[in-house]
Symmetry: C2
Subunit: 432 residues, 2 copies
């Protein structure tokens, strides 16, 4: 160790808020320990807020507040962006990179939208851009996938990356609640927002899927490349049928290699009870990774919340600050591979199709023929008379794995078939 | 990017074997991708084996084999040690560090025994010593705990870190097999060795517990500091009683903060069914981490096997090679904290005590009094007449949390009590 005290790493924080407040607290409380891990003290040189007078959190030291973002960025080695949203976060990050500062961000919307631009800028300026907190909150996921699996090949990622929808589906499953009741309860407990659209329609999960896919396949995946279906159409009957067949329904973010490219999608799926993802309860998140050599891995933890997210931000701050203090740089993100992102039709999956059918002879034969004509083979058939009303039966068919586009056209044919009163639901089966 | 091709990173592999063969395969197959991630090509300069003529694996190129370890180490930037055992692995690693090479190792026995010496040598020489594969095989665990949680405080680690014992206990639980039958089956399937002692008595798990505890608490924990109990005394009756009370039995490696230090122990434990560790089946491993800010995290995957372990080794090789090619160094391991390792008596836990008692009035009162006299409070009591033989009953008591030393002396008193025929089993309850 050098005899003289090393120069401190100067940290600017953009946007306090719940996460920023916890980051400031941890940086202050653990200062000595962090300095020893980094090899230099960490100094908060300022906290940017638009309106310094409006900031009232008692944990944020008044003296550090500033509304002069240009001066703050110019005097920092490391900028921690916790503002959220696209602008001005994007401009501030580019300004920091341009000034030679490294950046840590928790901003998933920004990375899903402008990730390639930001990573290229960081690589061109030879600075770090770290984002552990942007994907699955506190769960260390970015670092393992970028670094631990750097010598391996990821085949598929299946993630429960939205706590709100997992809470709602878990309550529907374990306490037999309807969708509306479970959602209302989630809102009362603070797990869901007053306008839950971004969560329940899968938009939040889609942004994380884009980042996860970019990471796992070294590929530019934009938000608009992600096929997205939410959970608002899931009924108590879907959940009951899932339970009956030994599955639970989870909203999954899926990125996987397909023939000639990768597919990226978010939708509710039937997951077998014995699969590790089936045991992820409440608002927890988990990401299941299948890699060629490593086999099956799963990362589990809290996907949101001030302190958990701050923990992930701090881990990044320590890594980046160590690079600043002692040399080195994290992995480059901008050397993208050439695997194209394919439309969802190219994905290979299994369907479970629930139908209301007339309760008479010949119906099953007719339905089976429709599937056979599309070269879709049937794995299991279950029929319950009466469940669907007088004179009707409920027919539940699980298919073997087939291209999504063939399954879709099969369902379209079933909807038109005289042997089918109505298609009640179509759910993909994943994790087998 | 520089116009000239960067110098290759020269890699020496010590000991091929199952893992080494897979490492060589991955380094060869993924050469181009790895070079782009590292920023320089990776070149295998030689593979050390004691007897070059005896090496017959078709995947190992003959031309790279050498028995001249001194020349091999002298010409390498990065030495990958996959020999296992204490010597000569320890001497070779020290020799490599002395020559200025960085080291990647998968050798848990060596790190549990000589870790501090090796880490101090690496820090003094300013080279990397990486060991992701030494703790839980393919599971990225070392990097997340060392780096992602670097700004957080780990409170407790609960790990299923031995696949053999998890397989045996899982078979006993899900298929109601006896211990001997389940172990025999594990041996037939290759999950357990002919002499299973190191696995079933917990020695393998204890070595991993020592490394995990060192990592999580920045503390020197030696193998002899780890309290260790295996699973060979677990009976079908224990498993049935666990199921009855809503638990599964798992062999856990536990490291946790206690008053004034840390405790490190390996023993079978009752884990509630809803706990994420309860869903870890077969020979899989998982490590559950409780951190102050991040909350609950779990890392799941394969704990052994050639390809999975090779994946973890490769991740380390890429990180270390990037440091060699572009500058930088991983986290220091030798700046140890001052938390002492406490004896197991200082741990705080809960006991479930199964007893054979006379089936007569006054027995429960007498047992309750014994516990009260030691200030141990009872959480639940269950009694089954007849289960323990004519005139006898089985009494199952779960205690509240208390210091291990008080629980132990309570059990000793129960064994001597006239109200107790015999103590059938004592199991700790963890994960609540």
């Amino acid at each position: 160790m050098p005899a003289s005290t090393p120069a401190p790493v100067r940290i600017a924080i953009l946007g306090p808020g719940t996460v920023g407040t916890q980051v400031v607290r941890l940086l202050t409380e653990q200062a000595e320990d962090l300095a020893s891990r980094v090899g230099a003290p960490l100094e908060i040189v300022g906290i940017y807020v638009r309106d310094t007078a409006a900031e009232r959190d008692p944990l944020i030291p008044r003296a550090l507040l500033t509304d002069d973002v240009d001066a703050l960025i110019a005097g920092a080695d490391l900028v921690v962006e916790l503002m959220g949203g696209l602008e001005p976060a994007r401009s501030f990050i580019l300004q920091a990179i341009g000034a030679g500062a490294s950046v840590v961000t928790a901003n998933k919307a920004l990375l899903a939208t402008h990730g390639p631009e930001l990573f290229e800028a960081a690589d061109a300026a030879n600075v770090d851009l770290y984002f552990e907190a942007a994907v699955a909150g506190a769960i260390p996921l970015v670092r393992p996938v970028r670094e631990s699996l750097a010598g391996d090949q990821v085949q598929r990622i299946l993630g429960i990356v939205n706590g709100t929808t997992n809470y709602v589906l878990d309550e529907m499953t374990t306490r037999h609640l309807g969708y509306d009741v479970a959602l209302k309860q989630a809102q009362e407990l603070g797990y869901a927002e007053a306008d839950p659209t971004a969560d329940v329609e899968g938009h939040d999960a889609a942004a994380k899927a884009a980042i996860l896919a970019s990471l796992a396949f070294h590929q530019r995946v934009a938000l608009e490349d992600v096929y997205c279906e939410g959970i608002s159409a899931i009924t108590a009957a879907d959940v009951a049928a899932a339970t009956e067949s030994g599955h639970v329904i989870k909203l999954l973010a899926i990125a996987e290699r397909a023939d000639g490219g990768v597919t990226v999608r978010v939708h509710p799926a039937l997951v077998p009870l014995a699969h590790p993802l089936a045991g992820v309860h409440g608002a927890f998140n988990a990401v299941f990774v299948e890699a060629q050599a490593a086999g099956e891995l799963m990362f589990y933890g809290q996907g949101a919340g001030g302190a958990p997210t701050a923990s992930a931000v701090l881990g990044d701050v320590v890594s980046v600050a160590r690079h600043i203090a002692t040399g080195g740089k994290g992995p480059r993100e901008s050397n993208y591979a050439v695997l194209p992102v394919l439309p969802i039709g190219a994905a290979s999956t299994r369907f479970q199709i629930r139908m209301n059918v007339p309760d008479r002879a010949g119906v099953l034969a007719s339905v089976a023929e429709t599937l056979a004509s599309k070269a879709i083979s049937i794995e299991t058939v279950r029929q319950q008379a009466g469940a669907a009303g007088p004179g009707c039966a409920e027919l539940i068919i699980s298919t073997h794995r087939a291209p999504e586009r063939d399954l879709e056209s099969t369902v379209a044919s079933l909807r038109e078939s005289a042997a089918v009163n109505s298609v009640l639901s179509v759910l993909r089966i994943e994790g087998e």
